[in-house]
Amino acid sequence: MKIKFTLVIFLLNIFCSYGQVTDTNSIAMLLKPEQIEAFRTQAQKSVNDLARYMETMVDKSNETAKRDKAVSLAVKLFRTEDNIVEVSSVKNPSEKKILKIRVYFNKIKILPYSKVTIKWYDIYLAPHFTKGTDGRYYGVATILQKFEGKTNNELGKYSDITKKNIQIILEKTEYFEGLDKKEKWILKLGDITVVETRNG
């Protein structure tokens, strides 16, 4: 009986200490619920912006300067140029290539199709941000991407639908306003990974 009681106390102790760890890891300790909601809204807008820039950069009817500008604007939505995009195809769905964001954007800009369209739909934003080992907070937006490439020759047309996860990063940064040191949260996009690819 005594052993059972000790065991229960021990388990309760572990449970409580786990709770404390999760609390300090929760962004809710640092931001109010309305702030988290506002950042989620902004994340949705950033994902929509990225979708729009990608539509612009692949559309060959746009001027080159406009398409190049769309690439640099898209890159600036990300936390760093080292962020990556996973790429897959229906022919080899298990084989995923990894490209840095700028390389990926420049690649889709010059795909050997006469007409390329990329549309994102069913954008879903997960409600929580979790703390990463680097101290930043990570959320995720899931999108469905419909890719369509048409050629004028016998190759015809290629299309697929890919489910992708886009990292949403909330990072606290310090800055100076005069002599005062202040902090602010900044929202950026992170890595884009493939969940699954199927025929479009």
Partner: protein, 189 residues
Amino acid sequence: MIEVILKTSRNTHNATRITGLIFIVIGLVIQFSPFKEKKSDRIENTNIINENYIDQSVQREERNNPSENENSKVEIMDDISKNERSTIEQRNISPSQIEAPNSLEECFKLLTITSIQENSKNNLKNSILSRFKDSNVEVVKYNNNIPTPDGTTIEDYIEAVINSGKKIIIRSDSEKSEGKITKLHIEEI
């Protein structure tokens, strides 16, 4: 003509003389009459004619441009909403010769009009940038009245507005120093 009337009036009856004088008075009244077209009215009419001419020439330009098909014409008409068109018309300028308005929000609005030419957009861009401390001034985006910055600078944001046609509201709590904006607070619609 006055002399003739006077000569006649000397040789005729008093009543005729009075009639002559009445003619003179009428003549003078007509000469300096308030019923005459005012100068400002003339200028207004000229402006109306100019606006019509500009509208017609823009339409002619759109018709004559071989690169624009029917769809792009519709797109232009859609892009320039009635309010935006009236803004352009009130200023008596064509979409190819845009002058930067005083209102920053109006400048951003003009940047989203696709029919405005590249060089005019560059002028607008320079005019917007001249109101900021430098091109790296931060643009803070607000959602539900809460700041949600994403690290965008004003220079990049201008390009983003041109590229995506975003509609924005500039918040009155944007920060200024020595007449220049040091932090721009905006809401995207």
